[in-house]
Point group: C2
Chain length 136, copies 2
Amino acid sequence: MLSKKTKYGLKALAYLASQKDKKPVQISEIAEKENISQKFLESILLSLRKTGFLGSKKGKGGGYYLLKTPEEISMTDVMRVLEGPIAMVPCVSLNFYESCDDCPDEQACSVHKLMLQVRDSALEVYRKNTLRDIIS
Amino acid sequence: MLSKKTKYGLKALAYLASQKDKKPVQISEIAEKENISQKFLESILLSLRKTGFLGSKKGKGGGYYLLKTPEEISMTDVMRVLEGPIAMVPCVSLNFYESCDDCPDEQACSVHKLMLQVRDSALEVYRKNTLRDIIS
DNA sequence: TATTACCCTACTAATTTAATAGAGTTTTCA
DNA sequence: TGAAAACTCTATTAAATTAGTAGGGTAATA
Protein backbone atom coordinates (compact mmCIF):
# COMPACT_ATOMS: atom_id res chain seq x y z
CA MET A 1 0.00 0.00 0.00
CA LEU A 2 1.00 3.53 -0.77
CA SER A 3 1.33 5.52 2.44
CA LYS A 4 -0.78 8.62 2.98
CA LYS A 5 2.44 10.53 3.27
CA THR A 6 3.36 9.66 -0.31
CA LYS A 7 -0.15 10.21 -1.57
CA TYR A 8 -0.41 13.64 0.03
CA GLY A 9 3.11 14.57 -0.97
CA LEU A 10 2.40 13.73 -4.61
CA LYS A 11 -0.84 15.67 -4.54
CA ALA A 12 0.88 18.68 -3.05
CA LEU A 13 3.62 18.58 -5.67
CA ALA A 14 1.01 18.27 -8.39
CA TYR A 15 -0.90 21.20 -6.92
CA LEU A 16 2.21 23.36 -6.95
CA ALA A 17 3.04 22.27 -10.47
CA SER A 18 -0.40 23.36 -11.63
CA GLN A 19 0.07 26.94 -10.47
CA LYS A 20 0.15 29.59 -13.15
CA ASP A 21 2.94 31.59 -11.62
CA LYS A 22 5.75 30.67 -9.30
CA LYS A 23 4.42 32.53 -6.28
CA PRO A 24 4.64 30.68 -2.97
CA VAL A 25 1.51 28.79 -2.01
CA GLN A 26 0.46 28.56 1.61
CA ILE A 27 0.19 25.21 3.34
CA SER A 28 -3.34 26.07 4.37
CA GLU A 29 -4.42 26.51 0.76
CA ILE A 30 -3.00 23.17 -0.36
CA ALA A 31 -4.40 21.40 2.69
CA GLU A 32 -7.87 22.77 2.05
CA LYS A 33 -7.97 22.17 -1.70
CA GLU A 34 -6.57 18.66 -1.48
CA ASN A 35 -8.38 17.63 1.70
CA ILE A 36 -5.28 16.99 3.75
CA SER A 37 -4.73 17.51 7.47
CA GLN A 38 -2.75 20.74 7.61
CA LYS A 39 -0.38 19.64 10.33
CA PHE A 40 0.38 16.38 8.58
CA LEU A 41 0.95 18.17 5.31
CA GLU A 42 3.29 20.55 7.07
CA SER A 43 5.64 17.71 7.95
CA ILE A 44 5.49 16.30 4.45
CA LEU A 45 6.29 19.59 2.76
CA LEU A 46 9.10 20.09 5.20
CA SER A 47 10.71 16.83 4.14
CA LEU A 48 10.27 17.75 0.48
CA ARG A 49 12.03 21.02 1.19
CA LYS A 50 14.89 19.31 2.97
CA THR A 51 15.37 16.95 0.06
CA GLY A 52 15.57 19.74 -2.47
CA PHE A 53 12.22 19.56 -4.21
CA LEU A 54 10.66 22.63 -2.66
CA GLY A 55 11.71 26.07 -1.55
CA SER A 56 9.89 28.06 1.08
CA LYS A 57 9.36 31.66 1.94
CA LYS A 58 8.45 32.81 5.42
CA GLY A 59 6.31 35.68 6.57
CA LYS A 60 3.36 37.36 4.95
CA GLY A 61 2.88 36.18 1.39
CA GLY A 62 5.07 33.18 2.11
CA GLY A 63 4.56 29.54 1.33
CA TYR A 64 6.06 26.71 -0.68
CA TYR A 65 7.10 26.61 -4.32
CA LEU A 66 8.82 24.16 -6.69
CA LEU A 67 12.56 24.59 -7.07
CA LYS A 68 12.57 22.93 -10.47
CA THR A 69 10.17 22.81 -13.39
CA PRO A 70 7.68 19.91 -13.36
CA GLU A 71 9.52 18.36 -16.32
CA GLU A 72 12.67 18.12 -14.28
CA ILE A 73 11.09 16.29 -11.36
CA SER A 74 11.31 12.54 -11.79
CA MET A 75 8.85 10.25 -10.08
CA THR A 76 11.71 7.93 -9.19
CA ASP A 77 13.25 10.57 -6.96
CA VAL A 78 9.94 11.64 -5.49
CA MET A 79 8.93 8.08 -4.64
CA ARG A 80 12.28 7.30 -3.05
CA VAL A 81 12.02 10.34 -0.81
CA LEU A 82 8.38 9.96 0.14
CA GLU A 83 7.81 6.21 0.13
CA GLY A 84 11.33 4.88 0.57
CA PRO A 85 12.51 1.78 -1.26
CA ILE A 86 10.84 1.00 -4.57
CA ALA A 87 11.64 -2.69 -4.19
CA MET A 88 9.21 -4.83 -2.21
CA VAL A 89 12.01 -6.75 -0.54
CA PRO A 90 15.31 -5.31 0.70
CA CYS A 91 17.35 -7.96 -1.13
CA VAL A 92 16.38 -6.50 -4.52
CA SER A 93 16.65 -2.86 -3.52
CA LEU A 94 19.18 -0.70 -5.36
CA ASN A 95 19.27 2.09 -2.81
CA PHE A 96 18.29 0.32 0.38
CA TYR A 97 19.86 -3.12 -0.09
CA GLU A 98 19.89 -5.64 2.75
CA SER A 99 20.39 -9.38 2.56
CA CYS A 100 17.78 -11.73 4.03
CA ASP A 101 18.65 -13.59 7.22
CA ASP A 102 16.77 -16.68 6.16
CA CYS A 103 17.90 -16.97 2.55
CA PRO A 104 21.06 -19.01 1.99
CA ASP A 105 21.31 -18.32 -1.75
CA GLU A 106 19.91 -15.08 -3.07
CA GLN A 107 20.29 -15.99 -6.72
CA ALA A 108 18.37 -19.23 -6.27
CA CYS A 109 15.55 -17.60 -4.30
CA SER A 110 12.24 -17.59 -6.10
CA VAL A 111 11.00 -14.55 -4.22
CA HIS A 112 14.13 -12.69 -5.24
CA LYS A 113 13.67 -13.70 -8.85
CA LEU A 114 10.10 -12.46 -8.99
CA MET A 115 10.59 -9.29 -7.02
CA LEU A 116 13.54 -8.26 -9.15
CA GLN A 117 11.23 -8.11 -12.14
CA VAL A 118 8.58 -6.23 -10.20
CA ARG A 119 11.14 -3.68 -9.10
CA ASP A 120 12.42 -3.16 -12.62
CA SER A 121 8.96 -2.69 -14.04
CA ALA A 122 8.05 -0.18 -11.35
CA LEU A 123 11.30 1.70 -11.89
CA GLU A 124 10.54 1.88 -15.58
CA VAL A 125 7.19 3.51 -14.87
CA TYR A 126 8.68 6.02 -12.46
CA ARG A 127 11.56 6.74 -14.80
CA LYS A 128 9.35 7.72 -17.69
CA ASN A 129 7.01 9.89 -15.64
CA THR A 130 7.87 13.38 -14.51
CA LEU A 131 5.67 15.61 -12.42
CA ARG A 132 4.56 17.18 -15.68
CA ASP A 133 3.19 13.89 -16.94
CA ILE A 134 0.85 13.26 -14.06
CA ILE A 135 -0.91 16.62 -13.90
CA SER A 136 -3.93 17.27 -16.04
CA MET B 1 6.88 -4.01 1.44
CA LEU B 2 6.12 -7.62 0.75
CA SER B 3 4.68 -9.26 3.85
CA LYS B 4 6.39 -12.24 5.41
CA LYS B 5 3.23 -14.16 4.78
CA THR B 6 3.61 -13.71 1.05
CA LYS B 7 7.32 -14.34 1.12
CA TYR B 8 6.94 -17.55 3.09
CA GLY B 9 3.95 -18.65 1.04
CA LEU B 10 5.88 -18.20 -2.19
CA LYS B 11 8.86 -20.07 -0.82
CA ALA B 12 6.66 -22.92 0.31
CA LEU B 13 4.98 -23.15 -3.08
CA ALA B 14 8.36 -23.11 -4.77
CA TYR B 15 9.58 -25.82 -2.43
CA LEU B 16 6.62 -28.03 -3.27
CA ALA B 17 7.08 -27.35 -6.97
CA SER B 18 10.68 -28.50 -6.74
CA GLN B 19 9.76 -31.94 -5.45
CA LYS B 20 10.55 -34.87 -7.68
CA ASP B 21 7.34 -36.72 -7.00
CA LYS B 22 3.92 -35.60 -5.89
CA LYS B 23 4.06 -37.11 -2.44
CA PRO B 24 2.77 -34.90 0.38
CA VAL B 25 5.44 -32.87 2.15
CA GLN B 26 5.19 -32.22 5.86
CA ILE B 27 4.95 -28.71 7.20
CA SER B 28 7.89 -29.39 9.47
CA GLU B 29 10.12 -30.22 6.51
CA ILE B 30 9.26 -27.03 4.63
CA ALA B 31 9.61 -24.93 7.75
CA GLU B 32 13.04 -26.31 8.49
CA LYS B 33 14.42 -26.13 4.96
CA GLU B 34 13.13 -22.64 4.31
CA ASN B 35 13.75 -21.23 7.78
CA ILE B 36 10.17 -20.38 8.56
CA SER B 37 8.37 -20.53 11.89
CA GLN B 38 6.38 -23.74 11.71
CA LYS B 39 3.25 -22.39 13.32
CA PHE B 40 3.19 -19.35 11.08
CA LEU B 41 3.75 -21.49 8.02
CA GLU B 42 0.89 -23.70 9.14
CA SER B 43 -1.58 -20.86 8.85
CA ILE B 44 -0.20 -19.80 5.48
CA LEU B 45 -0.46 -23.29 4.00
CA LEU B 46 -3.93 -23.55 5.37
CA SER B 47 -5.02 -20.47 3.47
CA LEU B 48 -3.37 -21.77 0.31
CA ARG B 49 -5.34 -24.95 0.71
CA LYS B 50 -8.59 -23.12 1.25
CA THR B 51 -8.01 -21.10 -1.91
CA GLY B 52 -7.40 -24.15 -4.03
CA PHE B 53 -3.64 -24.09 -4.55
CA LEU B 54 -2.77 -26.94 -2.23
CA GLY B 55 -4.21 -30.25 -1.19
CA SER B 56 -3.46 -31.88 2.11
CA LYS B 57 -3.39 -35.36 3.49
CA LYS B 58 -3.79 -36.07 7.15
CA GLY B 59 -2.28 -38.79 9.28
CA LYS B 60 1.00 -40.61 8.99
CA GLY B 61 2.72 -39.91 5.70
CA GLY B 62 0.53 -36.85 5.25
CA GLY B 63 1.40 -33.30 4.30
CA TYR B 64 0.76 -30.72 1.60
CA TYR B 65 1.05 -31.02 -2.14
CA LEU B 66 0.31 -28.90 -5.21
CA LEU B 67 -3.08 -29.41 -6.80
CA LYS B 68 -1.88 -28.14 -10.16
CA THR B 69 1.38 -28.31 -12.07
CA PRO B 70 3.77 -25.39 -11.50
CA GLU B 71 3.10 -24.21 -15.07
CA GLU B 72 -0.57 -23.78 -14.25
CA ILE B 73 -0.03 -21.63 -11.18
CA SER B 74 0.00 -17.95 -12.09
CA MET B 75 1.77 -15.43 -9.90
CA THR B 76 -1.18 -13.09 -10.29
CA ASP B 77 -3.44 -15.49 -8.44
CA VAL B 78 -0.85 -16.33 -5.82
CA MET B 79 -0.12 -12.68 -5.09
CA ARG B 80 -3.80 -11.79 -4.82
CA VAL B 81 -4.39 -14.56 -2.30
CA LEU B 82 -1.27 -14.03 -0.21
CA GLU B 83 -0.64 -10.30 -0.44
CA GLY B 84 -4.08 -9.00 -1.35
CA PRO B 85 -4.50 -6.13 -3.82
CA ILE B 86 -1.77 -5.69 -6.41
CA ALA B 87 -2.58 -2.01 -6.75
CA MET B 88 -0.93 0.38 -4.30
CA VAL B 89 -4.11 2.41 -3.88
CA PRO B 90 -7.66 1.04 -3.70
CA CYS B 91 -8.90 3.44 -6.39
CA VAL B 92 -6.88 1.64 -9.07
CA SER B 93 -7.53 -1.87 -7.84
CA LEU B 94 -9.33 -4.26 -10.16
CA ASN B 95 -10.35 -6.77 -7.53
CA PHE B 96 -10.47 -4.63 -4.40
CA TYR B 97 -11.71 -1.29 -5.74
CA GLU B 98 -12.67 1.51 -3.37
CA SER B 99 -12.99 5.19 -4.13
CA CYS B 100 -11.01 7.73 -2.13
CA ASP B 101 -12.85 9.91 0.36
CA ASP B 102 -10.70 12.90 -0.34
CA CYS B 103 -10.54 12.76 -4.11
CA PRO B 104 -13.28 14.67 -5.95
CA ASP B 105 -12.25 13.58 -9.44
CA GLU B 106 -10.54 10.25 -9.83
CA GLN B 107 -9.64 10.75 -13.48
CA ALA B 108 -7.93 14.05 -12.75
CA CYS B 109 -5.99 12.72 -9.79
CA SER B 110 -2.27 12.58 -10.35
CA VAL B 111 -1.79 9.79 -7.84
CA HIS B 112 -4.41 7.76 -9.65
CA LYS B 113 -2.73 8.38 -12.96
CA LEU B 114 0.66 7.22 -11.76
CA MET B 115 -0.53 4.26 -9.74
CA LEU B 116 -2.58 2.94 -12.63
CA GLN B 117 0.61 2.54 -14.61
CA VAL B 118 2.41 0.93 -11.70
CA ARG B 119 -0.42 -1.55 -11.26
CA ASP B 120 -0.43 -2.46 -14.93
CA SER B 121 3.29 -3.00 -15.02
CA ALA B 122 3.18 -5.20 -11.91
CA LEU B 123 0.28 -7.19 -13.34
CA GLU B 124 2.23 -7.75 -16.51
CA VAL B 125 5.12 -9.23 -14.52
CA TYR B 126 2.84 -11.49 -12.52
CA ARG B 127 0.93 -12.51 -15.59
CA LYS B 128 3.96 -13.76 -17.43
CA ASN B 129 5.41 -15.66 -14.49
CA THR B 130 4.14 -19.02 -13.34
CA LEU B 131 5.44 -20.97 -10.39
CA ARG B 132 7.55 -22.88 -12.90
CA ASP B 133 9.33 -19.72 -13.98
CA ILE B 134 10.58 -18.74 -10.57
CA ILE B 135 12.08 -22.03 -9.43
CA SER B 136 15.66 -22.84 -10.32
C1' DT C 1 6.47 45.64 15.35
C1' DA C 2 2.76 42.85 14.84
C1' DT C 3 1.23 39.50 11.97
C1' DT C 4 1.77 35.68 9.21
C1' DA C 5 3.56 31.48 8.24
C1' DC C 6 7.14 28.23 8.53
C1' DC C 7 9.72 25.05 11.79
C1' DC C 8 10.35 21.51 15.24
C1' DT C 9 9.60 18.13 19.00
C1' DA C 10 7.03 15.00 21.39
C1' DC C 11 3.23 12.27 22.06
C1' DT C 12 -0.56 8.98 20.94
C1' DA C 13 -4.33 6.14 18.92
C1' DA C 14 -5.15 2.84 15.56
C1' DT C 15 -3.80 -0.67 12.61
C1' DT C 16 -1.17 -4.32 10.83
C1' DT C 17 2.11 -7.86 11.04
C1' DA C 18 4.28 -11.77 12.67
C1' DA C 19 4.22 -14.62 15.36
C1' DT C 20 3.10 -17.85 19.82
C1' DA C 21 0.45 -20.98 22.62
C1' DG C 22 -2.34 -24.56 23.22
C1' DA C 23 -5.98 -27.46 22.51
C1' DG C 24 -8.66 -30.35 19.32
C1' DT C 25 -9.65 -33.42 15.42
C1' DT C 26 -8.84 -36.59 11.78
C1' DT C 27 -6.46 -40.11 9.39
C1' DT C 28 -3.49 -43.78 8.65
C1' DC C 29 -0.70 -47.63 9.48
C1' DA C 30 0.87 -51.32 12.23
C1' DT D 1 -8.26 -50.96 17.16
C1' DG D 2 -5.44 -47.78 19.09
C1' DA D 3 -1.82 -44.72 19.13
C1' DA D 4 1.09 -41.84 16.62
C1' DA D 5 1.39 -38.48 13.19
C1' DA D 6 -0.21 -34.55 11.16
C1' DC D 7 -3.51 -31.23 10.08
C1' DT D 8 -7.03 -27.65 12.03
C1' DC D 9 -8.62 -23.91 14.65
C1' DT D 10 -9.06 -20.14 18.12
C1' DA D 11 -7.26 -16.78 20.85
C1' DT D 12 -3.71 -13.88 22.43
C1' DT D 13 0.20 -10.85 22.10
C1' DA D 14 4.52 -8.13 21.13
C1' DA D 15 6.50 -5.15 17.99
C1' DA D 16 6.46 -2.00 14.38
C1' DT D 17 4.47 1.35 11.50
C1' DT D 18 1.31 4.80 10.21
C1' DA D 19 -1.30 8.80 10.54
C1' DG D 20 -2.15 11.93 12.76
C1' DT D 21 -2.54 15.66 17.09
C1' DA D 22 -0.86 19.24 20.16
C1' DG D 23 1.61 22.98 21.12
C1' DG D 24 5.10 25.95 21.27
C1' DG D 25 9.13 28.34 18.89
C1' DT D 26 11.32 31.05 15.23
C1' DA D 27 11.94 33.87 11.29
C1' DA D 28 10.58 37.14 7.79
C1' DT D 29 7.77 40.56 5.72
C1' DA D 30 4.55 44.43 5.08
